[in-house]
Symmetry: D2
Subunit: 382 residues, 4 copies
Amino acid sequence: MATTARAAVQVADRTFEIREFDLPEISTDDALLRVDAGGLCGSDVEQYDGELASLGVTYPLIPGHEPLGTIVEIGEGAARRWGVEAGDRVAVEPVFGCGSCRTCLVGDYRRCRRAAPPGAIASAYGAIPLAIEPSLWGGFAEYLYLGPRTVLHKLGAGLPFELAALYQPMAAAIRWCAHDSGIKVGDTALILGAGQRGLCSVVAARAAGAENVIVTGLARDAHKLALARELGADATIVVDQEDMVAAVRDLTGGEGPDVTIDLTPVATQPIADAIEAAKPGGTIVLAGLKGSASTMPEFSPDRVVMKELTLKGVFAQDIRAFEPALRLIESRKYPLEKLHTHTFGLDDVALAIETLAGRVPGEDAVHVMLAPHGNGAVAGGA
Amino acid sequence: MATTARAAVQVADRTFEIREFDLPEISTDDALLRVDAGGLCGSDVEQYDGELASLGVTYPLIPGHEPLGTIVEIGEGAARRWGVEAGDRVAVEPVFGCGSCRTCLVGDYRRCRRAAPPGAIASAYGAIPLAIEPSLWGGFAEYLYLGPRTVLHKLGAGLPFELAALYQPMAAAIRWCAHDSGIKVGDTALILGAGQRGLCSVVAARAAGAENVIVTGLARDAHKLALARELGADATIVVDQEDMVAAVRDLTGGEGPDVTIDLTPVATQPIADAIEAAKPGGTIVLAGLKGSASTMPEFSPDRVVMKELTLKGVFAQDIRAFEPALRLIESRKYPLEKLHTHTFGLDDVALAIETLAGRVPGEDAVHVMLAPHGNGAVAGGA
Amino acid sequence: MATTARAAVQVADRTFEIREFDLPEISTDDALLRVDAGGLCGSDVEQYDGELASLGVTYPLIPGHEPLGTIVEIGEGAARRWGVEAGDRVAVEPVFGCGSCRTCLVGDYRRCRRAAPPGAIASAYGAIPLAIEPSLWGGFAEYLYLGPRTVLHKLGAGLPFELAALYQPMAAAIRWCAHDSGIKVGDTALILGAGQRGLCSVVAARAAGAENVIVTGLARDAHKLALARELGADATIVVDQEDMVAAVRDLTGGEGPDVTIDLTPVATQPIADAIEAAKPGGTIVLAGLKGSASTMPEFSPDRVVMKELTLKGVFAQDIRAFEPALRLIESRKYPLEKLHTHTFGLDDVALAIETLAGRVPGEDAVHVMLAPHGNGAVAGGA
Amino acid sequence: MATTARAAVQVADRTFEIREFDLPEISTDDALLRVDAGGLCGSDVEQYDGELASLGVTYPLIPGHEPLGTIVEIGEGAARRWGVEAGDRVAVEPVFGCGSCRTCLVGDYRRCRRAAPPGAIASAYGAIPLAIEPSLWGGFAEYLYLGPRTVLHKLGAGLPFELAALYQPMAAAIRWCAHDSGIKVGDTALILGAGQRGLCSVVAARAAGAENVIVTGLARDAHKLALARELGADATIVVDQEDMVAAVRDLTGGEGPDVTIDLTPVATQPIADAIEAAKPGGTIVLAGLKGSASTMPEFSPDRVVMKELTLKGVFAQDIRAFEPALRLIESRKYPLEKLHTHTFGLDDVALAIETLAGRVPGEDAVHVMLAPHGNGAVAGGA
C-alpha cells in the first residue's frame, strides 16, 4: 500500500509541477480513492490557460474534476452512507453540497454555496486550493481525498475506465438535452457544437426520442461531425461554410427545431442564429460558456418575445443525470467508445490538455483521458 | 338602427381621417358589434407613430384591437357557437385563429399564421387593411365586423365599460405574470415597468400568491408607482434615482426575486439588471418590446448559464387568460378602477393616443379609453 | 369512378349486414375517402358485443374509427385547409372537434362535446348513427365521408397500409406512455398488458429513453410477450404464473418502476398490483377500460397517499401524438411490422373482430386489419 | 436552567403517563428546545387511539410532531448550519432526512427512509420510541432534543405561539392545495373537509388565485363551515344534507372544479363524489387518510380514464411549504387566529386530543394547542 501520492499541481498559467503528498488519514466519514482515470473537459483548458482567475481560482492547486478510480480506504460511516467498500470502482461527482441549507434541501446541491471550504471558490473537486488540508482535492493525482459529502457512483464490473470516463459529458448531455430541455418523442433537436458534450447530446437526444437530430460544427471538426452522424445525427451543418439558419430551415421543413442546445465556447453568433432558426414556442438551452466577461451585442430581446422562445441557462449536473448517464454508458447501446481518442499519464497532463484543446498538430481529439498510474502518453482510443 | 358607421381611419403616420362606412350584411356565422368602448395600448402609440411599418402594417386601416360593445346583429350559427345574442355586451379577443392548422389544434391560436386574410399581416383586429371587405376591422369605429372565428366574452350585467376595458392588460398580466412565469405562493416577484400592464401585473402577482411584490418605474412615473403600492406592491424602486440591483437585493434579503417580468418599452438595461438581480434558478419573463430592430449589447449569456436562469418570451394572450381576467375584474377584489384615467370620443383619437403616450403636458395617464359613440374628450376616471 | 359504397352495418349485437350506399356529394369543405385499410381495436370488440350501449351507441351504424385510405374527391377549402389533394394517401384521426368551444380553443379537441352531430354520442368516426346524413361515417366501408372538421395526416409514399394501420395504437402509446406519463431518460417503465397498445408502448417507452422496460401478460399471451422482448422489453412477467409485485421488485432492485401504464381490459387487480409495486412518487397511467359499470373494491386510497403516487387517467389522443406516431412508424427503426398478423375483407368483418378477440382457435392475433376493397380473409402479416 | 423535563409518555392505547427525564447533553451538531407550544393534528388522535400500530408505532413513546419553542442550548455546528442561536424562537419540521441518500439528494427528504434511528419507523418527531437515546423525541414534553439533521424555521418577533402553531396545517395546505395541485389564477377549487387543514386550504386556494372556492363539511361542522366562509370560501356544502355532486355542478355552472382536495378522514365516498363532480381533465389531490386497512369499493377506474382525471396522493410537506406557510401566517393577511380554539397544558394532553376529536360535548374545536409549560386547560382562542 502506497503512503504517498504524486500529483500534478498547477502553479501558474500553463505550468504544472509534479509533487508528492502524504496520503491523508481516513476517519469514519471519508475515504481515499486511487485515481485510475479522469476525463478532461473544456474547463480544464480554461483553467490551464488561467482564464478562470476571474472566478477566483488561485494557484497552487490540483485540477481535475472528473475522477474515477478504486476505493482503497473508507470509514465505516462513509461505507454505509455510500453503499461501497474498499476495492469498489467508482465515479465521483465533481460537486458536493452541505446537505443542510435550503438549496440542498430542495435538491439543488449542485448550486450549494455553503459546502465550499473557507478559501475555496466552490465545493468542487479540482477547484480547492492546495492550502486546504488534506490538499489532495483534484483528479490530476494518483490519489484523491473523498470528503464526507462526496456523491459517488459504483461502476459495473466489466466497464473499462476509457468508457466510464465519459460519465460527465454524458451526464451533462442527459440533463441539458434530455431532462431539462422539455424534448419529447417526435421532436427535432438542434445541437450547436460537436465536442464531447455535443456528441453525447446526440446520444441523449436520440435516447429522448428526437426524431430529427441536427448537429453543427466547424470545417475543422469534420471528424467530429462524422462521428455525430455515426452516433445517430440525421444531419450536420458546417457553420463556417453554410448558412446555418437556412440549412436548419431546409432540414426542418421550414418549421425550425423544437429544442436547441448551445454548447459552443466563446462565440455568441450561434445563439443569435439559434433564435432565428427556432420554432415559435421553442426552447434554447444555453450551456456553452463564452468567457465570463463577454457579451452578445447581437442579442435581440424582441425576437425572443415575438417568437415566444424560452432560453434556459444550465450549469453542472447532479445525481438525476449521473445515474442514467452511467447506466446508458453501461448499456452499450450506443458506440460511445468511439469518442475516446487519447489517454495520457500524469507527467503529460499539459500535453493532454493541449491535445484536447486542438493545439497539437495532427491530433484529432474528441475525448481525452488522464491515467495517473499509467506511463506517459498513450495515443489512440479504447 | 344605424346603416352606417363612422370610423377613425389611419391614413399616414400620426394622421387620422374620420370616414363613414356602410354597415356590412351579416349572415349565418358572423355578427356586428356596436363598439361602446376600447382600451388603448402601447402598441397603439407605436402604430400611430408609424413604427409598425417594419412589421408590414400598411395604411389605410382602422386601428383598435381592444374593442368592447354590444352585439347588434348576429347570425344563427355564430349565436349558437359563441353563446350570445343581440343585445349582449361583450369583450372581443384581439386575435383569432383558423381553428384547423396544427398551431390552432394544439391550443396556440394566438400564434396562428393561417387565419390572416390575404393582404393582412395577422388575424388581429386593428391590423387588417381597409381594402379587405367589409373594412370595419378595427375598434376605432362605431361598429366592428365580427368574423366567424372571433373569440368573445360576455360581460357581467353591472360591469361598467371603463372597468371592463382593462380586460386586455389584465389578461396579459395573468398570462405573463401568473400562469406562464411559474410563480408560486410565497414567491417574490419583480415587475419592471409601472404602466397599465405593470400595474395589472401587481394584481396578477398578488392573485398568484406572491408574498413580496416589487415594482420599478421612472421618477416621472411617481403617480403610477403610488398606484402600484395601493394595488398591493410591497415596494417600488425609482430606477433613474436608485441602483436597481442593489435595491432589489436589499428588498429580498440578498436572495433576488424568483420571478421577474419585464414590461419596459425600448430600454434593454432593465433586462440586464434583472439578470443580475435574479435568484439563481429564477425566471425572467420578457414581454416588453424594444423596437424590432434593437439589440441588447450588454446581454451576457454566461450570467444566464451560471445562474441557471430561464428567460421566457411571451407575446399576446388567449382564452386561458381572458376568462380569468374578466372574472377578476368583475370580482371587484382589487381597486382596478383607479387605473382608468381618461376617456375620449372618436374624433379625439389622436389626442387619446398622445395622452397615453405622456405627450400631453399636465396629464398623468394610466389607462385611456375610447368611447366611439361619446362626444369629444372626457378627462378623468370612472 | 364508383357511385356507391358497400359498408358493414352493425344492426344488432354481433350482427353485421353488408349494405350499399350512394356516395355523398362533396362541396367546398369536405371530402370523400376511399378506405384502403382500417385497424381494429379493443373497443371494436366491445361495440360488436353490444357493451357500448350503456354509452349511448345505437344501431344501425357503420363502425370503424381507424380508417386509412386515398382521397378521391375533395373540396377546395378542405384541400387548402388540410394541405392534401385527390390521390393523396392519408390516415384519419378518429375524433374531430368543433374548433370554437373553450375545449377546442385550449387544444383539447379530443374532448370536444359540441362537434357531435345531434343524435350522435360523440364527434368520432365509427360512432355516428346511419340516420345522420350522409351515413358513411365509419371505417368498415369502402368509402368514408370526411366532414369539414376532420383532422388527417398524409402518409409517406413507401409506407404500406399494413404498417400505417398501426397509427392509432402507436399514437396512444406515444401520448400515454411517452408524452403524458412524465417518463424520462433512465427511467423504469412497467407496461401492464401485451396487446397492440402494450406492444406499441414498449416502443414508446424505449423511444422515450426508458432504461428498463417490463411488460406483463397472461400465459396465453406467450407470443405477444415474446414479441415484446423482440421490440426491446427487458423483461416480461406472466401474471397468472408469477407474483407480479415480487417480480417487479426483483427486476427493479427493490425500487419499483417510475412509470406504470395500465392497458389491461376488464381486470382491476393489475391496478392494485401497480400501486403496490410503484416507486414512491411514481406515476401510474390508467388507460385500460374495465367495463363502464365496474368498480375496484381493492382500491386503497391510503396507499396512493402514503406513497405519493399519481394516477393519471388518459383517453384518446390527438395531433400531438398522431404526428410523431406516423413518423416513428415511417422511420422503420422498430420492427413494428411484426405486430400485424391478420388482414380481412369487408365481408369478414365479424370474423376479423372475433380473431382480434382471441375467439378463433389457432389464431394468435396481435394487430388485425380490415381491407374493405380486398377479397375475403387473408391470414398472415405484411 | 432546568435539568429535567416532564413529558407525556404514551404507554398504551389512550393512556399517557407523565414522566421526568434528564435533559440530554448537547454537543457540536445538536440542540435542545424548550417546547413552548405544539399543535395537535388528526394523526395525534389516531396515535392516541392506537390505530397507527399497523404502521409499526410502538409504546412507550412521546408523541407530538408539531413542536415550537425556544432554543435553550445549541452546538456550534448546529448554530452555524441552522442560522439560529440560544434564545431564538423556532418552529420544527416534523421529519428529517439523512441528507446523503438519493431521496434526500433530489430534494425529497420528507420521504427519506435512511434517517430513521434503528427501531424507529420514521425519522419523525413524535414517532421515535423512548428506548432510543435521548428519549426526548416528541413534542408532548417540556423539552425536545433536536438532532443534527433537524430542519427548523425562526419565528418573527411579534408572532404569538397560538398563531405560529398553525404552521403545519398551513404548510400542508400550501403544498397540497397550492403548489402541487396545479391550481392557477381563475380556477375553481373544491375542498373536501372543513377541519384545520381544510380551513387552511381555503386560505391556500385563495392565495393561489382560485376564483371560486367551495368547501364541504358535515352538519355538525357548522362552525367550521362558517369559518370557511369568513376565510374566503365562496360556498359551503353540508354533505349529509345536500347532494354534493349536484351542488358542486350548480356552483360551477355545470363545469365542475379544476382542482379538488380530499382531506376527509375515514370516508371514501367523498373521493367517489369528487370523481363524479370534477371537470374533465381536472386534478384531485388525495390527502385524507382512510385508515390504513381500508379500501374503496366504489372506485371506478373507468370514470378516471374517460374524464382524464389526475389523482395525486400527497403526504407530509417540506421546506418548500413551511417557509411560505410561516410567512403567510406572519403577514396577517388572513384572520387565521380564528382557527385557534383551545390550549391545554401537558397534564391534559388526553383531554386536548379528545377535544380535537370532537369527543368532548359542548366544545367546538378547530385548532387545539398544547402548552407544555402552561398550567392545565385553557379554553378559548388567541
